[in-house]
Amino acid sequence: MTEAERKHTIPWWGEFAISPDATVVRQVGSLWIGVRRLTREWQIFSRNDETKDLPWTETAEPLPFVVDEEKVLGRHIVGSGQSTVSLSPLLADRPVVTRPVVPFVVQPGQESTVFVSTPIWVRLAVESPSVVLEEIPCQLMSDTWFGPTTMEGEICYASWTSCRLRLEELPLRPHRAVTPVKIKNEADTPLLLEKINLPVPFLAIYSAGDSGLWTQGVTMIRRREDAAVLEISDGAPDMVPEAAFLAGPRKTPDRKTFISKLSALIG
């Protein structure tokens, strides 16, 4: 593990006590967050040196963050008795359509597990975590449309993925959560994977210590030409069984299995 990676394994989330007129600063990937507690208000500062999630974006070491020189993101009036702020990770608020940098084909009868990562949001809250002050994305994603026509579908986020197939090749990034996606092709024709629609708001976050942040596994099974089934597993993924539950999903699905048209899940 390199020095940079070791630094990233120290969890940035948790509850932090702030004395009056003091400031707490945390770094998550290229995002800096500062929380200053004043007598009558709490001020939130943030700066992101690399906002957009693009295939050619390389994570560089961010410039130093000096709170007084940064822009105020928000000013909040909270009770004078508050002295701790909690930072917790959160997944995207919309499904994420993730595209492999190089599309690949799953032949009939074959299955493959790809590791797809999506950017994390940071939730700042007081009163542990019932009063949310801000939710800041670590990386901004483009809007995109996912649906069979321009009339029906939904607005999602667009992301890129290297679609790694081997666990050891996964880089350790504190600002992204990894989802293992198992893709099974039970139809008679090859399945070209150009994009995957991940139901991110239904996934929970797990912390696997040195291995970073993970979500539950998701299985997409192509039954026939145009029919597919999406299943969200329970609990930590098999690759990191020791991972601890960190945060629940934004939305609770009423069921774990979704039957859908293939075009609604994989393109």
């Binding site: 994603m141 483009s142 809007d143 995109t144 449309w145 667009a158």
Partner: protein, 294 residues
């Protein structure tokens, strides 16, 4: 005095007064029954109908029931309804001729209600007028234009002409018309524009932006670059992408040409005569010019 009182008491006990009282009671009861029926009808259709449809049904139910009771009240008072109906028939024919347009508007309104191409709150465009729908009434549709003016459009116009509902679908395409100089490399311009669309967060990744080469224009190569955005972000994206295109073109040395004309004197004619004028405005021997000094 006594006679008068006697006459009053006789009158009071008479049948006419009784009928009169019955008529009044019928009207009052009719009013109350109509109100109650309207309330229960409202409760029943609470979630099913739009605001203006509810208003319509309320009025129809109320006046329908009230009129029924008024007719029976009139019957009580001894009016022959047959004559009334006959007169009403002739009256309605006359009204019908006079109100052709209104009737047409009314019927168009009913068809519009059934078809539902738009609802209150949608933004529509009728011929040159664009605005937000405030009300869909029996005879007309009321719009509020973006410069805050109130426009009333008869339903007949809506049925007869094209109505564009701008807020029907969640995403919208923006067509940008650009011109680049003839000397530019079209492939390079395409790459710059597609990269720009990728970097812009408001621009949707899917549907993919379109690059269309429209043709060899008079002064430039005409290009259409179409990008998609969420309906709510339409204006923001349109403004931001034009700015970004200008910056990107400047940074990459891509010229957006002014309209220009090339003049030819013709191959068999003499070249155009040209006079050289120096800085002080003096001319050489044979040309025309003005001297400022000397």
């Amino acid at each position: 005095m006594n006679t008068w009182l006697l006459r009053l008491s006789e009158f009071a006990a008479g049948e006419q007064v009784l009928s009169g009282l019955k008529a009044v009671v019928l009207v009052l009861v009719g009013f109350v029954v109509a109100k109650i029926t309207v309330r229960s009808a409202e409760k029943m259709m609470a979630g099913h109908l739009a605001v203006h449809e509810k208003l319509l049904v309320r009025r129809a139910v109320f006046y329908g029931i009230f009129l029924l009771f008024i007719f029976s009240a009139l019957h009580q008072l001894g009016f022959d309804l047959g004559v009334l109906l006959g007169a009403a028939g002739i009256f309605s024919v006359a009204i019908g001729f006079a109100s052709q347009t209104s009737a047409s508007n009314l019927i168009s309104g009913l068809f519009l209600l059934g078809e539902r191409p738009f609802a209150v709150g949608d933004v529509i465009k009728v011929s040159e007028i664009t605005g937000e729908v405030l009300a869909v009434d029996l005879l007309s549709v009321k719009l509020r234009t973006f410069d805050n003016l109130y426009v009333r459009i008869p339903n007949e116009t809506m049925i007869k002409s094209e109505v564009t509902t701008l807020t029907k679908f969640p995403i919208r395409r923006i067509d940008l018309q650009l011109g680049i100089a003839y000397k530019e490399d079209i492939g390079r311009v395409r790459t710059v524009l597609l990269r720009l669309a990728e970097v812009n967060l408001l621009c949707l990744e899917e549907p993919k932006p379109l690059f269309i080469f429209k043709g060899f224009g008079d002064s430039s190569l005409d290009i259409q670059f179409s990008v998609w955005a969420r309906r709510e972000n339409f204006l923001d994206l349109r403004n931001s992408i034009y700015e970004e295109i200008k910056l990107a073109f400047d940074a990459n040395g891509i010229e957006i040409p002014f309209p220009h004309l090339s003049l030819y004197a013709g191959s068999v004619t003499d070249p155009f005569p040209v006079t050289m004028v120096d800085v002080q405005g003096r001319t050489n021997a044979r040309g025309i010019g003005t001297s400022t000094s000397d």
